[in-house]
Amino acid sequence: MATPTTTQPRGSAKVNRLGLEKSVYKGLDSTLCNGCGHDSISARIIDACWELGIKAEYVAKFSGIGCSSKSPAYFLSRSHGFNSLHGRMPSVATGAMVANNTLTGIGVSGDGDTGSIGFGQFKHAVRRNVPMVYIIENNGVYGLTKGQFSATADVGQELKHAGLNELPPIDLCLEALVADCGFVARAFAGDPKQVTELVKAALSFKGTAVIDIISPCVTFNDKDDSTKSYSWGKTHNERIFDVTFVPSYEEITVDYDEGQAKEVELHDGSKIVLKKVDRSHDPTNRMAAITLMEQAKTNQLFVTGLIYINSDRPDLRDYEDLPETPLALMPSSVTRPSKESLTKLMQGMM
């Protein structure tokens, strides 16, 4: 295999292809609890963006409200951030991504933010295929309001004050699949490599890329028997694939046997290489993905990886048929029709 010609961010390299050190991609210091899963996800977003050499000035960060939603402050300080309303990140991102088609969107939400108050907006954003990475930092609990059940809590999950949950969980990957999402992944915050590769792949996906990351809340829901705890994740994480993302400017350097891996090409020419682990799952088969997620939900299996990929759907910017110049930057000469046009209209109404 040929050696890549671009600067390699991997390994011990200090700068990425933009010549930037990783510290440039950092945010402010986190104010989340020590050990909170959300912080490790922020670190992975930093890794992914740095490694890909993404220009942070062209990234817009979005979130709703919750501990998870605070995290956009803790990565990419060179990117504009929008910490919006509880559950309403999708609508804000929709407007912004249409207003400026040169922006890359990274959204971070929580299981409460997405699965309860923002459930409708989530589904509609997916339906519209708003171009953005949509990360759900899923801890099965409301962290910021101190330990109430969220809608992703598993049956049998116990919380200190809230007691025992008897209601079935909402599976956000399933919901994304049902809403025709073209990029559906599940990961575990305690599996850094997988999270990083999935975030990288999601950043290249044209459309809404949903990654449901189980992200333990060490303060309110980290008992060993909770399906959202670190120990559960460590012992139950069942990767369906080893995911490797190969950006368009790089050549494939990973070894894999034909037949054991699947290669998916994205719009920008980048590739996702999915190396089968022990389950046979076709991530381009939507029904298979739905079945897999149903089984996982019923049997409390923690399967992770890229569950479904389909890059054929137009994204919202296609649907809106946006012009090349971002709407936000349209000059007045374009946005205000001529005086003659108004005179003509008025004459027609006389």
Partner: protein
């Protein structure tokens, strides 16, 4: 043909003076019967005859079947407010004919369809029975369309009786159908047949006539929602999100229609805008706020229940200082309420919409022309003040056809407000703060996402923040920020449209009004003057209130605030702003879903004076 022409009513003197260009027509039909085209045709023909007219649709919240009344007022003096009664009734609805006739004053007239099976029971009203179905047959149309053509029968008969010119009727139809002869012809056939029939078969005994004038030259006819949409188009709107709701829906629809026409890039055929039908109003404003934050000229349009849903975003946008324009075409009540009736019930809710300690400039256009003007200005103001701007109209304005002065092209460049570019940041050596009041007007400078400078970014947050947009819980930061927001609000007060005043020498009484009640107030003042009651008039055009309001109040012993809501909301705001003058401020409010009439204003004011 069995034609029934009522002999002259006994109560009438045989030689009645003709009444020319001064009466109202009520057309009673069923919703969904296709009468809009007929009514609009009459309205436009009269308008093109140079006679001042207005049309108001009093319609039910129903798609088909419930009663609808359309009133056309013809007035040589240019009074266009709704009147309490009509002199001419066109009865096409069996369900309401008895009641409708009962409401008629002696000496008035009624045209009714023979299809109603109605036998006139009053001898002090002039009746003309018309074979509407038979006339509709001349259209050559079949089925449902034939039914629609029955409406053209009353158009023709009315035209003959009043003297409406046929050529203007034909031109009006052609205008409505955008010149499509296939659509126009069946209708003109029926109109012609009806006119001929009336000429041959009816003896005119009523006094009502129209005569050509020249009082509408240079004027246009248009509905307020189209005016609002056009204002946004010429204001350079680039993003709109909305959710269907009567009576605001046609704002978004007109926006789509005219943007397509005027803002499609000729080279690429691509739109230079985007309109999204959101999943609800909450999302609609969320999208507008997201787009406004990213630098689009963004707006939404809605009515009462939508406003309720927008509350959280309105408060957020106020606090985080994001431009947004919200057009509120006001109607009555919650959920369904009275969705097809008008109201000014959202004044206080819009002014203070949000989480608390939030307030928004509200523009209050009082004419159709002002709706257009304030709509483009709203986009400028939103970006200039980096805050939500409400444009308050109502159903009467929004959905009825109005005669209006034609619109003036914006007299100033588009204002994009205070935005720092990457070059500006280089010049400033990156030293800037999103919420820093560098100009002393309370307005900070913002950067847009995608600005290529390492220090361009800031973090928009609903939390307490410093002037650099970083998290803060410090009491002085919170207070300082809200004080600056108040300064910004005061800056806005100075540039918002000032009230229009007509101070009358020696008048003890002042009238304050706003919005669509203007025609009724204008006419009421004439009625009052006839009774020897002098009044001054101040028409408010924006909230926060202009400083000139208190001097107007001070200049009068008693000030009556005319408004269409139950809680006398503007009265309360006026008292709040001028507590020392509160005792002089009286409420003159009514909220029955119908546009106010001059008579109601004049009589109620006299009662309160007594």
């Amino acid at each position: 043909m069995a034609v029934e022409v009522q002999t002259k009513p006994a109560t009438q003197s045989p030689s009645r003076e003709p009444i020319v260009n001064d009466f109202s027509i009520t057309i009673a039909t069923k919703n969904g019967s296709g009468s809009q085209t007929a009514n609009a045709t009459i309205l436009r023909a009269l308008f093109k005859m140079g006679i001042p007219v207005s049309g108001k649709n009093i319609f039910p919240s129903n798609i088909q079947g419930l009663p609808t009344w359309y009133t056309i007022r013809v007035n040589k003096d240019g009074f266009t407010a709704r009147k309490d009664e009509s002199e001419i009734l066109i009865a096409m609805n069996k369900a309401t004919v008895i009641e409708d006739v009962q409401k008629m004053k002696p000496g008035t007239m009624c045209i009714y369809s023979d299809g109603l099976g109605y036998t006139p029971q009053r001898d002090d009203v002039i009746f003309y029975k018309i074979p509407a179905a038979k006339m509709a047959a001349t259209s050559g149309l079949e089925g449902k369309l034939r039914g629609y053509a029955e409406n053209m029968a009353y158009v023709g008969v009315l035209a003959n009786l009043l003297g409406i010119e046929y050529v203007e009727l034909e031109a009006a139809l052609s205008h409505q159908f955008k010149g499509k002869a296939k659509a126009v012809e069946p209708n003109t056939k029926t109109i012609k047949a009806a006119m001929e029939w009336a000429k041959a078969e009816l003896t005119k005994t009523d006094p009502y006539r129209v005569e050509r004038m020249d009082k509408t030259t240079g004027m246009i006819t248009i509905d307020g929602n189209t005016a609002a949409a056009l204002g946004a188009v010429y204001g350079g709107v680039t993003f709109a999100a909305w959710y269907p709701i009567t009576p605001a829906t046609s704002v978004a629809e007109a926006l789509g229609y005219y943007l397509k026409q005027l803002r499609t890039d000729p080279a690429t055929q691509k739109p230079t805008y985007s309109i999204i039908q959101a999943e609800d109003e909450l999302a609609a404003l969320g999208m507008v706020v997201g787009a406004g934050w990213a630098g689009a000229r963004a707006m939404t349009s809605t009515s009462g229940p939508g406003i309720s849903l927008m509350a959280e975003f309105a408060g957020y946008a106020y606090f985080t200082e994001i431009p947004a324009v919200i057009v509120n075409v006001q109607r009555m009540g919650p959920s369904t309420g009275l969705p097809t009736r008008t109201s000014q019930g959202d004044v206080i809710p819009c002014y203070f919409l949000g989480h608390g300690d939030s307030k928004h400039p509200c523009l209050l256009p009082g004419t159709i022309k002002e709706i257009f003007e304030f709509s483009w200005r709203a986009l400028d103001l939103a970006e200039r003040f980096q805050t939500p701007i409400f444009l308050l109209t109502d159903l009467d304005f929004g959905m009825n056809q109005w005669m209006s002065e034609s619109f003036d092209y914006p007299d100033r460049e588009i204002d994009r407000g205070k935005v720092l570019s990457a070059e500006d940041l280089v010049r400033l050596k990156g030293n800037w703060g999103r919420y820093r009041d560098v100009d002393g007007d309370g307005i900070g400078w913002r950067t847009l996402p995608g600005t290529d400078h390492p220090l361009a970014a800031y973090f928009t947050r609903g939390t307490g923040h410093t002037d650099r947009a970083t998290y803060s819980e410090k009491p002085e930061d919170w207070e300082g920020n809200l004080e600056r927001l108040n300064r910004k609000f005061e800056s806005a007060r100075k540039v918002l449209p000032a009230p229009v005043e007509d101070q009358v020498d020696g008048a003890e009484i002042g009238i304050i009004g706003f919005g669509s009640t203007d025609p009724a107030i204008v006419e009421a003042r004439v009625l009052l003057a006839k009774k020897g009651i002098k009044t001054s008039y101040m028409r408010l055009r924006a909230l926060p209130l202009s400083e000139s309001v208190s001097s107007f109040i001070r200049a009068h012993e008693r000030v009556y605030v005319v408004e269409m809501n139950t809680d006398a909301q503007m009265t309360q705001l006026l008292r709040l702003d001028t507590p020392e003058l509160a005792a002089r401020i009286f409420q003159l409010n009514k909220n029955d879903g119908l546009p106010l009439t001059a008579r109601w204003i004049s009589e109620s004011l006299q009662k309160m004076e007594a």
